[in-house]
Symmetry: C2
Subunit: 344 residues, 2 copies
Amino acid sequence: MATVRNRRILLARRPAAEPSEADFEFSEVKLPDLPPGQMLLRTLWLSLDPYMRGRMRDAKSYAPPVAIGDVMVGGTVSEVVSSNLPNFAPGDIIEGRTGWQEYAFSDGTQMRKVDPSPAPISTALGVLGMPGMTAYFGLLHIGQPKSGETVVVSAAAGAVGAIVGQIAKLKRCRVVGIAGAQEKCDYVVNELGFDACINHHAPDLSHCLQNACPKGIDVYFENVGGKVFEAVLPLLNNFARVPVCGLIANYNDAQLPPGPNQVPLVLRAILSQRLNFRGFIQSDFADQKASFFSDMITWVREKRIKYREDVVEGLENAPQAFKKLFRGENFGKLLVRVARPNLR
Amino acid sequence: MATVRNRRILLARRPAAEPSEADFEFSEVKLPDLPPGQMLLRTLWLSLDPYMRGRMRDAKSYAPPVAIGDVMVGGTVSEVVSSNLPNFAPGDIIEGRTGWQEYAFSDGTQMRKVDPSPAPISTALGVLGMPGMTAYFGLLHIGQPKSGETVVVSAAAGAVGAIVGQIAKLKRCRVVGIAGAQEKCDYVVNELGFDACINHHAPDLSHCLQNACPKGIDVYFENVGGKVFEAVLPLLNNFARVPVCGLIANYNDAQLPPGPNQVPLVLRAILSQRLNFRGFIQSDFADQKASFFSDMITWVREKRIKYREDVVEGLENAPQAFKKLFRGENFGKLLVRVARPNLR
């Protein structure tokens, strides 16, 4: 095989607040020959997700941080170029976590073969992948929505929120989204069937939300934190469930917001209304992936769950595109098209 | 029957901060004749509990507030003086919620006959009553302690905390209490078998707690809030459970504490460590009372669960005694002996 040069994006430094292009470093290396027991993967799609901001931080979390000088972590869909593994053949489409680079070796562990028949392979990073599982497990296992209840989801037009709301509609709930642009609100109501959606830039956010939730809130799927959380808290009904999935409003904060300290308010609400707050990541539910794929493939095929992708062309544009997540500038699942398949 | 005069304690006004005697008003009324379908109860024991502070406040909670001029709510053990009800006879011992008064009529609903054989009848307000159920349901159903895990309980020498820790020891956990006096710490370690107990007045509370919990904290049974909560939060392990039972440190606060606003810290911990916070009151588990009584009567009889009572003599001393709860001055379940039984 001809010499392969691998372009990669490394973490150059830890951002203090909003990440910028200068936090990343481009690097190009020559790939060695394929070792025994490995396969060579060529990245087709790279997923950009809010959790990556956490990996850039050197703080206690559910996963270790990316080291300075290491390839940025990230979910990918790749094609197998060559393989010394019996279960993987050239042309296979693989979902894995090979990061912000054009090529990667893998011994096949934690790699999943993607069936390209139900939907485009990019959905293995979206509705049929990590964001889909996040929505599905968080809503159904933690949120436990019941018919007729009111479900509120923030970042409602995002990769996770849009799916949360649609599943909640399938469960016959009243679904109210919160999003950061009128265009996104219109989309989730008109295209996805949400009952209402509030623009969180509205000056009277609390009042709008209260009007949209006349019977209070039974499930709040938390993706953002900050002022949206503050508006939701007083509306939570007795025994409401709060799956805590993300806090994108706070990810770039270098320090805590000014006082007063509202922790006593939160704890008092938890006690008085007997709320259940539970943080999770989708991999906590790894033993239940089969039910996810069975349900979600059916729903996608039957167009009961729709999805939207926001595609950026070229690996070199990943750092700039990444910033969009924190500005609410993406509209749908944010993906980088790194290459087009050669072998199919 | 001779004319019965009923001495009662009414709520006179809503306290702004710590309750004082001036928030209560004494009143004496003549009892009318016993109506049909009612029984006359004579209060023997009145329970004083932190939740009563919440009922003095005109705020959204799990129960409506006491109206100004109404008899203060409270759990009681009474004897039946006379009865027009087929299932209740003079001399029966009854646990109910007849409030801060010497006598009450009842139609029998939400009244429980107390079997005086397993333990003194006052325990129907403690280890074999509401505080016992609070400890039992909160720890076992929400905390779900597993053998070898570390359970931390605040207000460890209190009516609920002392039972939480002892049940956790029965479940083979490492049990660390937090209490407000050295005498209380010594008691829970030496008498109740806790593995350690930290005095929350220690200047290095966080450090002491960390030393006492070398493997982190898997269950935190929250009774107090405030600075104790802040010390516990960073030590919570992945998948830790936090039954939120009480927040006595905050009950008298007229305003929120100064900043910074630490809500983002709490939410981030919930997300990153996948914590489960759940508020509850024991009546949420009313359908499981049978298992409570079966287990707890056995444990008390076998002296595997011990209890301690702090008895105040005379209804007139209830307002002054009530303040002790918020100063940490009670040592054991706080009870007012209103009268001694006449009929047994």
